[in-house]
């Protein structure tokens, strides 16, 4: 039986981790992730979990301790944001390359300078190519649900890759929502305990992290790619089982109004909620607009996106991160590459928005929709990359 709790996004993540029989949490405080580790510390200090909570002295050590713990066969979680993720960067690659299932909550916050504690996706996008599975959520409910699923995905013997669950700073991390939570017993049945394939065990000694030179390194990377390529099967299976358990269906992407939409917005995270609300209101006035929200960003759901845009005439790709000097932001680069590969001709433009926590208002979204409708009508993209919500 599920019940509804009032939880912040961070609280929802902490609550999910509490229910997942996690062996080791190694984390360092950083705004706005801090609530996750604070709330989890209470579970530890009140004896509600068996977890060893390692309060490390930096995020670099947080991820290093997580790698060590994961290699022993333990279930492992950490959380971070912004500069913390950047400090982990080196070890993120090692975690995925050593095939360590670790689940990490990333509370997306911009990177300095200037220092700013608010939301954008530049932290995760800066580590985009670290070889982790990357999930973005729209609200606290999705944060809770995806954390439960993330352990199943990460620890699946066909995958064995770490997973980030990304939630927008403050907009989600510090906002209280009603979150439907499962009973502990139901979660325990769903996530079970980790069953390691290979582990650091003194009785069966193995060497982990050997020096791999020109004769073997490339093959290990190729296998890493293959693990990522294998993950969609597992992700789908876990999504299905989760839907059976909860009635809440997740997928690689969520679509809204896409059956007949001529113009659409694609975006990650909480902005998709605003976009859906605006689309709903515009559709009631006869405007054929839709929204695509990738839940899974890595592996990139190209197939599902192509399917969703079958009848589309124009697409605005919203990036809450800049790739300075590149033709487009990170999500748009992926979209353009996908469209080109599939030979799809579509009016596409890139909107960079919300950097450093600047609000993306319904008015902003409506403006973008109207511009997308204009592109759908004329077939002409006047501005391939534009900034919305900035004073120029």
């Amino acid at each position: 039986m599920s019940k509804i709790l009032g939880l912040t996004g961070d609280g929802a993540v902490a609550y999910a981790v509490k229910q997942c029989n996690v062996d080791v949490v190694a984390a360092y405080p950083i705004t706005p992730q801090t609530l996750i580790v604070e709330e989890f510390s209470e579970y530890v200090h009140n004896g509600e979990v068996h977890t060893e909570f390692v309060c490390v002295e930096s995020e670099h050590s947080a991820m290093s301790a997580c790698v060590g713990a994961s290699l022993t066969g333990a279930r492992v979680f950490t959380a971070t944001a912004s500069q913390g993720l950047a400090l982990m960067h080196e070890i993120l690659y090692i975690a995925s390359s050593l095939r360590c299932p670790i689940v990490m909550g990333v509370v997306n916050r911009t990177l300095s300078a200037p220092i700013n504690i608010h939301c954008d996706h530049s932290d995760m996008m800066g580590s985009r190519d670290c070889g982790w599975i990357q999930i973005y959520v729209e609200n606290a409910q999705e944060a809770y649900d995806w954390v439960l699923q993330a352990f199943r995905i990460a620890e699946d013997p066909d995958v064995l890759l770490p997973v980030t669950v990304n939630l927008d700073a403050f907009i989600l991390s510090h906002s209280l929502e009603g979150v439907k939570v499962l009973d502990d017993a139901e979660v325990e049945k769903f996530v079970s305990t980790r069953k390691p394939v290979l582990r650091v065990d003194p009785d069966k000694p193995i060497t982990v992290g050997a020096l791999c030179l020109t004769d073997f390194f490339f093959e290990t990377k190729r296998q890493h790619v293959e693990a990522m390529n294998n993950s969609p099967k597992t992700i789908s299976r876990v999504n299905n089982e989760f839907a059976e358990l909860t009635g809440r269906r997740y997928d690689f992407i969520e679509t809204f109004g896409m059956d007949d939409a001529e113009a659409a917005i694609i975006c990650l995270g909480s902005t998709a909620g605003t976009a859906k609300a605006v689309a709903k209101s515009m559709r009631s006035k006869g405007k054929k607009v839709g929204v695509i929200k990738p839940w899974v960003y890595r592996p990139f759901p190209a197939e599902q996106i192509v399917e969703a845009i079958e009848n589309l005439k124009a697409l605005a790709v919203l990036d809450r991160a800049c790739s300075i000097g590149a033709p487009y932001g990170p999500l748009c680069s992926d979209i353009i590459a996908t469209l080109y590969r599939e030979g799809i001709k579509l009016g596409v433009f890139n909107v960079i928005y919300g950097l450093g926590g600047r609000d993306m208002t319904p008015f902003n979204i409506e403006t973008v929709f109207n511009e997308t409708l204009e592109v759908a009508k004329t077939g002409v993209v006047k501005e391939p990359l534009k900034f919305v919500g900035v004073r120029e």
Binding site: V24, H50, H60, S61, S64, G68, A74, P202, D203
Partner: protein, 306 residues
């Protein structure tokens, strides 16, 4: 003190590794393995010992061995220790595991010191061993916080104006002992029974323990590879490398050196100090002798010997 006949004949750090002839790191790894008391995991920071012992698909280690990165051996050890503890709590693990983390002086004195300090403060049950060859020997002999005054390295060369490294060495064991850990010690591979006894002692301590061991490096210190142990002995006999331990905060001198040899004895068999024997840089040798004398006085006072 352990006796030779007490040591196991089994080699857990095996031949076939690609460390240089006369390398201290290999000797130290082998001796360390002789001190094990049960199931053990070795965590190795990036460095000579790591790269030369595990060139894929080969390994010289017959114990469970993990390398993650350069600066984080202590943090990785923290994670491993915590994981076994947590799995034991839920009945999924029943072995008592000893964890040894190895780091060179670069991975210890410089880039790894934060992770070490954190792990010592948190009190993880592990033994950290710094094999100190006094520079980034694996990377190509660059100076570190452990490089002694006057030594020539590729980033503190013997120039015409600046004769080697101007600065002095950090007091690593002092830093560790200041964390209030139960056991910290220095050692030299020339005194094998002292070293092996200390490794066992470090493993037996509940909580963190640290050993700082001198590691000769024929390539970087530029000495005859047949004289590594002789050099490691001279380091002690010149009082350059005081061998002592700090147990529950109490300092104890393990090897007394009543008639020290002059520092030149230690310096002259190493190419990294050759430039100091030119007349214009003779003062650097005096400075080194002064450092050795003052450091010895400080340590022996702490040990209640002076």
């Amino acid at each position: 003190m352990v006796r030779l006949k007490d040591l196991p004949t089994e080699e857990l750090f095996t031949s076939g590794h690609r460390l240089c002839a006369g390398c201290g790191a290999g000797i130290i790894a082998r001796m360390t393995m002789k001190a094990l008391r049960g199931p053990t995991v070795v965590v190795n920071a990036t460095g000579c010992m790591e790269v030369a012992s595990t060139i894929y698909p080969y390994t010289a280690w017959k114990v469970a061995w993990v390398h993650v990165a350069f600066e984080n051996a202590a943090a990785v050890a923290s994670g491993i220790e915590s994981a076994y503890k947590a799995m034991a709590k839920r009945g999924a693990w029943d072995k008592k595991v000893d964890i040894i983390a190895f780091g060179g002086d670069g991975g210890t004195f410089d880039i790894g010191i934060q992770a070490i300090s954190g792990a010592l403060e948190r009190g993880h049950d592990f033994l950290y061993i710094c094999y100190d060859n006094e520079a980034y020997m694996n990377t190509g002999i660059q100076r570190s916080g452990a490089t002694p005054h006057g030594a020539a390295t590729t980033t503190s060369p013997a120039g015409t104006k600046i004769p080697g490294k101007p600065e002095f060495k950090k007091d690593f064991i002092g830093i560790c002992a200041a964390h209030g850990i139960e056991y910290a010690a220095t050692a030299s591979p020339a005194y094998w029974n002292d070293y092996i006894t200390k490794v066992r002692k470090g493993l037996e301590v509940e909580g963190p323990a640290v050993i700082h061991v001198f590691s000769p490096c024929p390539l970087g210190m530029r000495h005859d590879s047949a004289k590594s142990i002789e050099l490691a002995r001279l380091a002690v006999q010149t009082r350059y490398w005081p061998v002592y331990e700090v147990e529950k905060g109490k300092y104890k001198l393990n090897i007394k050196v009543p008639k020290p040899k002059p520092i030149e004895e230690f310096l002259k068999i190493q190419g990294r100090f050759r430039h100091l024997f030119q007349p214009q840089f003779k003062h650097v040798i005096d400075e080194l002798q002064q450092y050795v004398d003052e450091n010895w006085k400080r340590i022996t006072e702490l040990c209640g010997e002076a």
